[in-house]
Symmetry: C2
Subunit: 199 residues, 2 copies
């Protein structure tokens, strides 16, 4: 027991923020290989939500790996801890009333399962960006697959580190088959079906 | 360099969220001894902001120490890392457009200085809840000062761990001298003077 772990009563609750914003906080959790299209979809989803006057916020390598998790490496252990922290922060953003979008490879079932349990089943949506390794490697937008094949980048998902595909995602999007606009429409429908905007 | 550290372009920026919410994201950072009144003030400030239809979110021991920072202890090192993470998360909440309220003892100048530099001078407001040790110990609402004096709680700020008072806080509130309502009025004026609601 310590000075910082006592339960404190706060009058303003998650429901109050939801009523203020006209939306229920939730988490849209993307997973998929590097180059699969997670950030592209996250960006398009955020654009769509803003056009609908909805508050969203993206957590990704840009704003997490350079800040909150700058102390972590890219070993298996470091990646697991990175995703644990992301899940905890995403939960706080959901509590705050935002549609929080997480865009990390998140290769392990266990990490995604942990995120689901931290955030809560009823407000966790799992989107598997299922673009194949072959296509991702062909795109190689960041030139990293080439480096991974040459052994210059370690622990690279799909090459030298496993990716455990979601078994039962809410939506699977293969960006070779599905346009970004179509995928956003599917995710928007999912948010509606989860009553995120029925406040 | 790794798959997660490339700069990604997102169309929706902090300014877009500010325009949507009609407020600029910022951080109100409380510091002070255990029992000084930080949580009471945070709660009252949140109530006030909600009454003004402003979105706020409190970070405190309840929602951080049990989740994001559940892996950290209360040693000096653990507390410094706790506050580093809080500062990084508060920055994200400010980026998301919320008035983020941080309510931790935050005993060290260095930690508060780090928070200021992470969050940005122009949207960081430091409130020192300056209630004296004598008064906090007399209140002893959680019974922790008694335990600390008996040596049952280690690293207890003010007793067995230092508190470095802010040298130049935006506001200092001694809750023996100032009512909660008065303090909230002062903080609201500070937010106005920082143009948080001029969007």
């Amino acid at each position: 027991m310590n000075e910082n772990t006592f339960e404190q009563h706060y009058d303003v609750q998650t429901e109050d923020r939801s009523a203020l914003l006209g939306q229920r906080g939730c988490v849209v959790w993307f997973s998929g290989l590097s180059g699969a299209g997670k950030s592209t979809l996250a960006n398009a989803l955020e654009n769509y939500l803003l056009s609908q006057k909805r508050l969203s916020f993206v957590l990704d390598g840009d704003n997490v790996r350079r800040g909150l998790c700058a102390d972590l490496d890219f070993s298996q252990e470091g990646r697991v801890e990175n995703l644990r922290r992301v899940a905890q922060v995403a939960k706080l953003f959901a509590d705050a009333g935002t549609v929080c979008i997480s865009a990390f490879i998140s290769p392990l079932i266990a990490s995604r399962q942990l995120a689901r349990s931290i955030i809560g089943e009823d407000r966790f949506m799992e989107i598997y960006v299922s673009t194949s390794l072959a296509v991702c490697e062909q795109r190689d937008t960041k030139g990293l697959y080439k480096k991974a094949r040459a052994g210059e980048v370690k622990n690279f998902t799909g090459i030298s580190s496993p990716f455990e595909a979601p078994l039962n995602p809410d939506i699977a999007v293969d960006t070779e088959q599905t346009s970004v606009a179509e995928a956003v429409t599917q995710i928007a429908s999912l948010l509606e079906s989860r009553s995120i905007f029925d406040v």
